[in-house]
């Protein structure tokens, strides 16, 4: 199409074969005339013009010498080009044999490429072959004859020279006799011939290997991927990426989930069966850590803080234990209910309803974030000041776990591991999720189902909500009440205004129960 437009521009009118031919012919003549009018601008044309001229008889020897040298230059150029191309083809062969399982097609392709390239190099070399004049220049530069040779070749058309041209010709021939011009341009192997030989050996060895084996690079990659070293290198990175992804998702979904209803959470919980297995493990780890932490619970005041802060004032340790027991029972019953719900839903969905692990993870994360108020209250005991001034607790099953965690493996503690375990095991307190420990608790301490959430209207709870967020990011630390956290808590407290009514009911019942126990 482009050619047609060009031809049309050259030959206005109808496009036809004859017009096309005449247009191309005119264009070619135009190019040739331009070349002829500017001979100095095109050294190739200039040189060819010299070659076509008749030469003086006394310079025939010089011209023959130049032709011989030109053949050698051509041979060297061809060898160099072919060797370079051959090296690239060998590199391609090595790459193919290393990676590809099927070699036949690749071999045919590379053989074709090699043949085409060799032919192209041949054509290109012949097209750009040096003329006699150019050869004379090269020989002159090699022999250091100070441009005598090209001048003589340039003036070779003068048959009966006189004066300075004759002197110049004689001078050139006299100096040329003292030299061995062919010695300056021997046919020699290219410099990269050694490299090509090594590559040939490598290719031969590789193909011999490939007769009975798979592609070595693929095998190597598989072996490497299985090695412990690589896994040890990449697994932390993968975990870190997963964490980052989870955090991102949590940040994205935090506000919408804060107003989410329970039905959605129940649906999501049905898809987290795999998570529960992992959480069980985490819970076990957390239990171990908890055991060690609770070993000195009576001695350390901080352990007493981990116990559910009872109502206002400074309750004794026993009272706290009782309170926490009751709380944990209630919480576990709630989690059991939620668990049973999720199991039923998952059964209803059947195998098709199961999602992938990643999706489950994301969904679990969303649920976790939606239950964050309850989780945050779990850490409240950790973040309470040592004076033990209790504030009303949420009906979380983990506060009781602080006292009975040795047996129940309640996940709560000061360390990050405990907090993680708390995030998984303790979610059953208010949400539809639960843990094995909680189920056990429910079996041993059956309580009525309680609402998932309670109203946390006290400013202290809001404040600790903020603290929980801080500990979730992995900075396990004691709570420090400062002005900034309060401000943040006030901001985050807005999320808790949407706490379902059953949580409030649960807290009321909890406090009533605690008061009854006291009295």
């Amino acid at each position: 199409m482009l050619l047609r437009e060009k031809i049309k521009s050259l030959v206005p009118g109808q496009f036809s074969g004859r017009g096309c031919f005449s247009a191309l012919r005119n264009k070619w003549l135009q190019i040739c005339s331009e070349v002829r009018t500017q001979p100095h601008a095109n050294k190739f044309v200039l040189a060819r013009t010299f070659d076509q001229r008749a030469c003086s008889p006394e310079l025939h020897g010089l011209i023959e010498t130049l032709k011989t040298i030109r053949k050698r230059i051509l041979a060297n150029t061809l060898l160099r080009g072919w060797t370079r191309w051959f090296v690239w083809m060998l590199v391609g062969l090595i790459a193919v044999a290393t990676v590809s399982a099927k070699l036949a097609g690749a071999l045919l392709f590379i053989a074709g490429m090699a043949a085409i390239g060799a032919a192209a190099i041949l054509v290109w070399t012949w097209r750009n072959r040096p003329s006699n004049y150019e050869t004379a220049r090269r020989l002159d530069a090699a022999a250091g004859m100070q441009d005598r040779l090209p001048t003589a070749v340039y003036l070779c058309g003068v048959e009966h020279p006189d004066g300075m041209i004759d002197e110049q010709r004689k001078d050139t021939l006299a100096r040329l006799k003292k030299l061995d011009p062919r010695g300056f341009f021997p046919v020699q192997l290219p410099g990269n011939m050694k490299r090509a030989s090594v590559l040939v050996l490598v290719v031969a060895g590789l193909f011999a290997y490939r007769v009975h084996h798979r592609p070595p690079l693929l095998s190597l990659l598989q072996t490497t991927a299985r090695s412990q070293l690589v896994q040890s290198i990449f697994s932390p990175i993968v975990h870190a990426m997963e964490k980052d992804l989870q955090r991102t998702m949590a940040l994205v979904n935090m506000k919408p989930n804060a107003t989410g209803d329970e039905t959605r959470r129940a649906d999501a919980a049905s898809n987290t069966e795999d998570l529960w297995k992992a959480n069980d493990d985490k819970g076990a780890d957390a239990q171990e850590q908890k055991d060690s932490a609770d070993a000195g619970a009576g001695d350390q005041p901080q352990d007493s803080l981990q116990a559910p802060g009872s109502q206002e004032g400074t309750p004794t340790g026993e009272a706290r234990q009782q309170d926490s027991n009751s709380q944990s029972q209630q919480g576990k019953s709630g989690s059991e209910n939620a668990d049973s719900k999720s199991q039923q839903q998952s059964e209803q969905q059947g195998p098709e309803g199961r999602q992938s692990l990643g999706q489950s993870l994301m969904q679990a994360l969303k649920n976790m974030m939606s239950n964050s108020p309850s989780q945050q209250s779990n850490n409240r005991a950790n973040q309470q000041p040592p004076n033990g001034q209790g504030t009303p607790q949420s009906g979380n099953s983990q506060q009781p776990g602080a006292t009975e965690s040795d047996k129940r493996g309640d996940s709560r503690g000061n360390s990050d591991a405990k907090q993680k375990a708390t995030q998984t095991a303790s979610e059953g307190a208010g949400s539809q999720q639960g843990s094995k420990e909680l189920r056990k608790d429910q079996e041993t301490h059956p309580v009525n189902a309680v609402p998932d959430r309670v109203a946390l209207e006290a400013s202290g709870f809001k404040e600790q909500t903020r603290m929980k967020i801080a500990t979730e990011t992995g900075t396990a630390q004691l709570a420090v009440r400062d002005q900034s956290s309060r401000q943040d808590a006030v901001i985050n407290g807005a999320e808790q205004e949407n706490i379902p009514a059953r949580y409030r009911f649960y807290v009321q019942r909890y406090f009533e129960h605690a008061d009854n126990g006291k009295h």
Binding site: D147, D166, D171
Partner: protein, 341 residues
């Protein structure tokens, strides 16, 4: 010594090759004679001889006391040419250079205006400290240098051939000087820089000038022979690639040439065609002096700086960056050679 070019200036029908050999021998003798008085400065002496045989003029630039005037005087003695010297000063008038019409009385007692030739009517003119004269006086040399004639009172007077102007200027004392206009600079074939002599040369100078008698320089060639040599020089062939190199080199000095960023950045005006002519003509002389019958790329490279350094005019940016014509030309030549290879 047999000479193919007779003392009377006749070629005697000798082959051109022999004449070329004679030229080479004679110039070697001239060098030898000059070296009796001038210590070292071989490049300057070669440049002066090349300019003499090429039919051009030379501008010598150097500090005082480096032997510029001595070189011109010695050359005049070695080539047996008429020699005159003009000390250029600010109050020098053109008539003091080219001559003037005066009232003359003939044998009949009749008075008429006659032309009194100035010191420019000579073969070898030394214009000492040419940049100290006013531009008006400097321009009096323009016609003489290019057309080899002077015009006084509507009458043109031809100068005697060979006419060879050697001007000197001091690059240090620029106060009270008038820099030569570009038109006049372009008329000088070469601008040669006279360097300070080396340690050994200085010892030699002291020995020669403070002991014994001053050296006596004997004439080797005359004006007629020089004119014949100039004809021989022009028959030397030039290969096309050498001429192409000269053209590219000259064009590369032009700031309009977009391919050469160096020239467009630092050069205000490039070389005139006289620069290319100088390179070819000077290359021919250099080839003959070297015993060759063709111009080589080496000749062009050797003559590039003296032939082009005064023909390019640098811009303000080059002066601010401390660039000189010499280093710019060398860079340009390097790029042109690299492109040709």
């Amino acid at each position: 010594m047999t000479s193919s070019v007779g003392t009377e200036g006749q070629t005697g029908g000798q082959p051109l090759g022999q004449q070329a050999e004679f030229l080479s021998e004679k110039m070697s003798e001239v060098r030898l004679e000059i070296s009796k008085a001038i210590v070292g400065q071989t490049e300057v002496v070669d440049g002066v001889l090349i300019a003499l045989l090429a039919g051009g003029h030379v501008l010598l630039e150097g500090a005082p006391g480096l032997g510029k005037t001595m070189l011109v005087r010695t050359l005049a003695q070695a080539v047996a040419l008429k020699y005159s010297r003009i000390q250029f000063t600010p109050d020098l008038m053109p008539a003091d250079v080219i001559g003037t019409s005066v009232v003359q009385e003939n044998g009949d007692g009749r008075k008429s205006l006659g032309f009194q030739p100035g010191p420019i009517f000579t073969n070898l003119l030394l214009a000492d400290e040419i940049n100290r004269a006013t531009p008006k006086t400097q321009s009096a040399l323009l016609e003489a240098m290019q057309e080899k004639q002077v015009t006084v009172a509507h009458t043109s007077h031809l100068l005697e051939e060979p006419f060879f102007v050697m001007a000197t200027q001091n690059p240090l004392e620029m106060e009270g000087t008038y820099p030569l206009p570009e038109a006049q600079l372009d008329r000088f074939l070469f601008k040669l820089r006279v360097p300070y002599p080396g340690r050994e040369d200085l010892h030699d100078i002291l020995d020669r000038t403070t002991q014994g008698n001053p050296a006596v320089v004997s004439p080797v060639v005359n004006g007629t022979q020089i004119l014949e040599m100039r004809k021989i020089v022009r028959t030397v062939p030039v290969a096309p690639h050498v001429q192409e190199h000269v053209v590219k080199l000259t064009m590369a000095t032009h700031p309009e040439n977009r391919e050469n960023l160096l020239a467009s950045k630092y050069i205000r005006y490039g070389s005139s065609p006289r620069g290319a002519q100088t390179l070819i003509l000077g290359g021919k002389v250099r080839a003959l002096l070297d015993g060759r019958y063709n111009v080589s790329m080496e000749d062009i490279g050797a003559l590039m700086l003296p032939a082009l350094r005064h023909r390019i005019i640098l811009n303000f940016e080059a002066q601010a960056d401390g660039r000189t014509p010499d280093d710019l030309l060398e860079e340009i030549a390097g790029k042109v050679c690299a492109k040709q290879k």
